[in-house]
Symmetry: C2
Subunit: 313 residues, 2 copies
């Protein structure tokens, strides 16, 4: 008989480590409701200003919920994670931290920036008057312990997941993770109320959340890297009003991505009166990033696509 | 009074060159119906087999329609291209040419592969029994002459457009091109009945077409690189049945893109019984490519997303 467990917000850790004791052990088929914490361990509150970023202890990021051990899970198996529900809390924040974003060398982004969001309406949130972002909450971090012993930083994504920031992993999607450590040792957190592809300014709408996931095992599948399935439309909530798109061409997809975002920032400043930081933040919480062209050497194209549905004023 | 012109399929050229005589000269506000040719100058016909690729004269690619001069267009102006209609013809083809695709070094793709499509139904086309792709036709090539004198190959995309392969540029979208040469000298062609992001196997559904575009000018805007606006949903035609997604992580977006496509090919072979070449071709005509993660050094994530709506069997 499948069980439902609740993991409270004290069951947290801050590094991946296959030798951490499980906060909970479950059977395949069981469901867990995670009270996921805010990622900085309370260094940012609803009353914080940009000043808080100047003393931010980055080593405390990410605070995540878990680990959950799954009985019978062995290296080579696949952990099936059904995303049943991700509930936004009452408020969130977005920051631009110099040195941790897509445009670290740009003069416009050498100062810290912090904004907070009122999320109490539950389905959408005002960025500033005239600009509204729908809420499409998902876990920025979902993953299992790497097989290699020792502590592993939570920032870079890995084949076993972690800080993957795949904004399509909303309720209704299913994630498949390759297992490297006995018991799998799943953790999650860093929930974003919304985020654009790539989370370009370094943060989405960061918030606490209540996350409900159901787990299962597929034995001996030897999945090479995580994959997932979405049900329904890719970007349903803001898909109907059209998109404004900038493009950047060149031989390096990374530099093209930077340049396409710079063009989008320019447009948001000129057409919608945003500041550099506001524009970067809106890209990070709302903008799609597509690889449009990748075979016609020497130039590839990256497209940044802003859903026009966010402009309601 | 705005005019409508028709440019027949003999008005073609094969290189960008600011000194080509215009096939047509129009005023801002005018509309042109282009009879766009197949890109290889007839080297591939409906009866061709993979053998035709072994002697393909690549230097004849791309055959494109134009150039069209716009009165009053000067360097620094923006050419506004409204995409009014793109009509598919009765058949098309997709090929994998060794050395010209995203996976040029992979052992599976060292032999040429050619398939043809029956497009006569007009709204969708059968890939093979059980797999149907909706038609969302757009011009793979739209651009104006580069400012630098001389001949320029049509293969790489440039800031003034060209072989941009942006699959969202369907009817209803508007493209803005920076102008570098007096008169702008616009050309188009390489129409794809459908294509996935990145056209990964090197071709979409290649076909002749009837393309209707309306032109306008914005003076002295100094647009740094082409951009565009889409009306309506990004991927409406096949968005409702869900998506199967592979991901690849690592420090190089280009290698991640290759790897995500390799994973998708593996899945299409195992789950849907496709051959390597069929799977590569289906990715090239149907698969989305998203940059999911680009700030959490040292690893970025590229996601390849296959719309499940194509599997009808």
């Amino acid at each position: 008989m499948p069980q439902t467990y609740r993991l409270d917000k004290n069951a947290i850790h801050c590094r991946w480590n296959r030798d951490l004791p499980p906060a909970l052990t479950i059977d395949p088929g069981d469901t867990v409701i995670f009270e996921t914490p805010e990622i900085t361990r309370g260094q940012i509150t609803r009353e914080s200003t940009s000043e808080a970023l100047k003393t931010l202890e980055f080593a405390l990021i990410h605070q995540i919920s878990g680990p959950v051990a799954i009985r019978g899970a062995e290296p080579g198996d696949t952990l099936v994670v059904e995303i049943l529900d991700v509930k936004p809390k009452a408020w969130g924040y977005t920051f631009v931290l110099p040195g941790f974003n897509l445009l670290t060398d740009d003069p416009a982004f050498q100062e810290p920036f912090l904004m907070t969001w009122d999320l109490s309406e539950g389905t959408k949130a005002e960025f500033k008057p005239g600009i509204v972002v729908p809420l499409q909450p998902f876990c920025g971090v979902m993953g299992v312990a790497p097989g290699e012993p020792g502590e592993h930083n939570t920032v870079p994504p890995r084949r076993v997941g972690g800080n993957i920031d795949i904004r399509q992993l909303v309720a209704g999607s299913t994630l498949w993770l390759p297992i490297e450590a006995p018991g799998a040792l799943f953790s999650c957190g860093d929930v974003h109320g919304n985020q654009g592809d790539g989370e370009v300014c370094g943060t989405g709408i960061e918030m606490e959340s209540l996350v409900t996931l159901r787990f299962d095992l597929r034995k001996g599948e030897n999945l090479p890297e995580l994959r997932f399935q979405m049900s329904g439309r890719m970007t349903d909530a803001w898909n109907s009003a059209g998109w404004y798109c900038t493009t950047a061409h060149g031989p390096d997809l990374w530099q093209n991505t930077q340049q396409a975002i710079r063009y989008m920032i320019d447009w948001l400043k000129r057409e919608h009166g945003l500041t550099d930081h506001e524009a970067f933040a809106l890209c990070s919480v709302a903008c799609d990033l597509k690889i449009s062209e990748v075979v016609d050497a020497p130039n590839w194209i990256v497209t940044a696509a802003m859903p026009l549905g966010v402009f309601v004023g």
